[in-house]
Symmetry: C2
Subunit: 337 residues, 2 copies
């Protein structure tokens, strides 16, 4: 018999909690007998929603957490104060080995801080990066790091490159992923102090497919699969993707209202346009893993519906089945030894 | 009689040199008797192109420069070696006070390096920033700094904010421009070490309208008029704007080819779409000034045609008429005194 994979899910986090979270969990366990989900949140409320569905016996268990951390709360204080919040209780299930992973659509800050404080890092990992998938012309790329810890050192970026490479190959399924470092020119001598220090270290890494620098212009074209950068820059890239996309789409919609001719045309292209824009929406690619922890923590977008919740749970299953953390451990230990 | 404004123009720089550069210069001098353009480049070639046009007597003068710096050449070496290149000769006209400004669509690196080495900084200016205008939902914003000097200090960013504010108000014509610093959250305590150090200094500046942090997501929405950041981040923002825009547009075009219905609609919306996309193309806003020099140096996009060249020349005229450098000097000296 295959090993059961246990995923704790924050039933109270995100704009559509608990309805869509519960629905996503039911959909996920419906896909395999080997998945168990702990729905963490206000028991009465969650059980009420759960009643509407049927699912494999014992595949879903509700775990009581009486508090909820709001998005606006300062993360560190919230994690310390709200010990019975769905995020703290869920993360503790991972820490205690009762769950393999934790998925939340709640407060990003609290998930990031809590993941580091409560679950803890893999020995040898200096800093756990948050690594969302972003859309490109060719598919997706892993942008690592977009977390909350800025001013990284070169050794951190080298670990990001390795962890990102393992994740992209074994979870997303891109063989021999191309790794690049964000830079302001293609030449090796270009860059700021951090990039100049990191570049030769990445070049020396035997275990990644390092292709050199990538300029921001090339990122959406899909020239690399793993995009390594320090968190401040990663954050700017992730958010500008969203911002430029949103404004361009709204401008295009306005433009289509400009004349009768374009209005008519707009009606005709609407379905195709919607499909296209969806494929290029950074929020569509669900969960961003916080890598390098003793367990997996996945932050899904606050606007996640059942589909993204289900996909994030399945992502945790692949992560566990592919023994990603064992691969990270081997890689980091080999490096240190 | 009004003072003549003299602009040196690199006749050899960019993808459409010399034809479009010459055309743009003729268009510019056609708009005012008070503009004089020095077309710097291979005399025979430029004069050949110039023969096709008529223009005010003495308003255009061809200045011989026998060499051309190619985009691929390492900038510092090129500036040192090619002393008779159009960029070096043009910049020297500014240094010697024979021209008020220099416009080039040639090698960015060479223009940036040459501007600093040959024209020199205004006394008190620590570092000259390159400040392109980027499109937003509401119009344009000045992104300062996108230059080649990375790893800035807080005092540099404060000067960028001041110079950008003066430029945006008096050249672009935005009264009391809103100044923001690029950050990864809206709260004052967020950010990397540089932003945390700079934020309180900007808050103390009495002469700018500082509105606080701006997240990259908000930049395209036009929340601020002057976007202050260190050059590495500015470069990432500028280039990602281009990249996301280009890929999104190509995806939309592909999407419109998906079915007969969408093909027909695509034909109908094409003119409106083209207009919309043009208004959101970062390359459409012509020249990026290199501020803080003894004179003005403007870098226009390599793909510039006559219209952008003309606009860049007119930008130099406004810069001179509005006494921007006197305003910068006053501002910097007041600060230092």
């Amino acid at each position: 018999m295959q090993e059961m994979i246990r995923v704790a899910v924050d039933a109270m986090g995100g704009d559509h909690a608990p309805e869509e979270i519960v629905k996503g969990a039911v959909e996920a366990v419906g896909l395999s007998r080997d998945i168990k989900v702990f729905l963490v949140g206000k028991k009465e409320l969650v059980e009420e929603k759960l009643k509407a569905y049927s699912y494999g016996e014992g595949q879903i268990e509700v775990v009581e957490a009486t508090e909820v951390i709001e998005t606006a709360e300062p993360p560190v204080a919230a994690i310390r104060k709200k010990k019975d919040s769905s995020i703290v209780v869920g993360l503790k299930l991972v820490k205690e080995g009762k769950a393999d992973a934790f998925v939340s659509a709640g407060s990003s800050g609290a998930v990031l801080v809590g993941g580091q404080l409560l679950v803890g890092r893999i020995k040898g990992v200096e800093r756990p990066p948050l690594a969302p998938l972003i859309p490109t012309e060719k598919g997706v790329a892993l942008l690592i790091d977009c977390g909350a810890n800025v001013d990284a050192r070169a050794s951190h970026l080298v670990q990001f490159a390795k962890m990102g490479s393992i994740y992209m190959e074994h979870v997303v399924g891109v063989p021999n992923p191309k790794v690049a470092i964000v830079n302001i020119g293609a030449e090796e001598e270009k860059g700021n102090a951090l990039v100049k220090e990191t570049f030769p270290l990445l070049k020396e890494c035997g275990d990644i497919n390092f292709i050199g620098s990538i300029e921001a212009r090339e990122i959406p074209h899909g020239q690399a699969d793993v995009i390594v950068c320090e968190a401040f820059v990663g954050n700017v890239i992730l958010k500008l993707y969203e911002g430029v996309g949103a404004v361009l789409v709204s401008k295009i919609k306005d433009g289509m209202k400009a004349s009768f001719r374009s209005k008519l045309g707009g009606l005709l292209v609407k379905p195709a346009l919607k499909e296209t824009l969806k494929s290029f929406d950074a929020t569509e690619y669900g969960g961003a893993p916080l890598l390098g922890l003793n367990g997996l923590v996945v932050k899904t977008h606050g606007s996640s519906k059942a589909q993204e919740v289900r996909n994030s749970i399945l992502q945790c299953v692949t992560f566990k089945e592919q023994h990603i953390n064992d691969k990270i451990k081997e890689n980091i230990i080999r490096e240190e030894g």
